[in-house]
């Protein structure tokens, strides 16, 4: 991945633990390397971060703002707090809003039990959603011969968009509209099966954190995702340079 800096070493503390970091390392990478858990949804090892899901927000001493760990680079003398009552409140709110915006009905979802959204909600102790549901009427696109797109489960993390653009290079997916009207679309907002740019590689399906993209013919809780290909592709490409 392209990095904006040359490598130099920085020392900082995360949750009181003194750690050394490369200048080109983000707080998130650093935390993960040191075994500190920061919840994420849009982050995906192998493609660029965009800081969209706001779940990895951390507190940094000296600024009142919360900063996304995946987009913040390590700096000398930084004091990072990754876990506090305030952060937990915000993270729960983010999940609340994600759940209420579309129709996430775990009990009938193909990804039940293998869903990152569900797993995180459980992990952060969400027992109920505090805001009213929107219940939007959304379509399911089953026009593709192998896969299905279900907008009801989409959280707009854009992992599919980035993996299709950066790894596969097809850029079949993108996001249309703005705000609550945002939808993931293929080509000119046409049925996925008719999108000529799609190579049917299925990378988007495997990286989708929820049941928004899944293989055809899967029933409730049957969809498991295989992500091994991404680090593998990354490794093989680096080896070729």
């Amino acid at each position: 991945m392209k990095r904006p800096f040359k490598t130099r070493v920085k020392t900082l503390t995360i949750d009181g633990m003194a750690v050394g970091a490369r200048e080109d390392e983000t707080i998130l990478e650093l935390a993960q390397a040191n075994g500190i858990f920061i919840p994420t949804l849009c982050h995906l090892e192998g493609v660029h971060d965009i800081g969209a899901c706001r779940l990895c927000l951390v507190e940094i001493k000296g600024t009142s703002k919360l900063l996304p760990a995946c987009m913040t680079y390590a700096e000398e003398g930084m004091e990072v707090i990754t876990d506090s009552e305030r952060l937990l409140t915000y993270r729960r709110q983010v999940l609340d809003l994600l759940f209420s915006e579309r129709n996430h009905v775990c009990a009938v979802c193909v990804s039940n039990g293998h869903c990152e959204l569900q797993w995180l909600a459980e992990k952060l102790g969400i027992s109920h959603v505090g805001v009213p549901y929107l219940y939007p009427q959304l379509a399911v696109d089953a026009s593709h011969s192998f896969y299905v797109l279900d907008h009801n489960r989409c959280i707009l993390c854009t992992r599919c968009v980035r993996v299709c653009d950066e790894i596969e290079g097809a850029h079949t997916w993108d996001v249309m509209g703005r705000g609550v009207e945002c939808r993931v679309i293929s080509d000119l907002n046409q049925p996925w099966g008719t999108a000529d740019s799609c190579t049917r590689c299925g990378k988007c399906v495997q990286v989708c954190p929820t049941g928004a993209l899944f293989s055809k013919g899967k029933a409730v809780a049957e969809m498991t995702k295989k992500r091994e290909f991404l680090p593998y592709l990354q490794l093989m490409r680096e080896g070729r340079k």
């Binding site: 850029h171 079949t172 993108d174 509209g177 703005r178 679309i185 080509d187 000119l188 907002n189």
Partner: protein
């Protein structure tokens, strides 16, 4: 897939494509000229249809989905031709409190369209604005560029009726 993007043929021999081509030329057929190119198409044709989006995408070597995403993100771009007449209702705080939602609902019901849509006969486009900055006149709407303040239901429907009937008359004269 065309590789030399300058060679992409426009979808028709309409002369307006030359203006679009000139804009792309000015930006060296680079993908970062996308918004400017879409601007030119919008200005020249009044809206962006699938053909023009495909043409721009192919010419700039930009992914179709990205072109579509950009043209739906910005409110200035429209994917459908505008109606002959436009009614813009203000949904700012003052107008909202003064009863614009009910008025809008009534207009929507009367013409069978939702805000942002155009009637099937192409006579009327119903649009909304965040705030027109004339809050003292709330509720405010703009009928074909003429602002009307302190609207009530009867007057709004009257103005709309006037606008659309004039259109029909002109048309029947033209047809005759």
């Amino acid at each position: 897939m065309p590789l030399r993007n300058e060679k992409v043929e426009p979808p028709s021999d309409d002369k307006r494509w030359r203006i679009v081509q000139a804009t792309m030329q000015r930006n060296g057929f680079e993908r970062d000229g996308l918004i400017e190119t879409l601007h030119t198409v919008q200005e020249s044709f009044g809206y962006l249809d699938d053909d023009s989006l495909r043409y721009v995408a192919a010419s700039l070597n930009a992914p179709l989905s990205q072109v579509y995403g950009v043209s739906t993100f910005y409110h200035l771009f429209s994917l459908k031709p505008a109606g002959r007449h436009a009614c813009v209702v203000c949904l700012g705080t003052a107008c909202y409190i003064k009863g614009m939602p009910a008025l809008l609902k009534e207009i929507e019901k009367r013409y069978g369209i939702k805000a942002g849509e155009t009637t099937a006969d192409g006579h009327l486009s119903l649009l909304t604005a965040r705030c027109l900055g004339a809050c003292g006149l709330a509720p405010v709407a703009v009928f074909d560029g003429n602002i009307a303040g302190k609207l009530d239901m009867a007057e709004a429907l009257n103005r709309l009726q006037e606008m659309t009937t004039v259109a029909t008359e002109v048309e029947s004269v033209r047809e005759a």
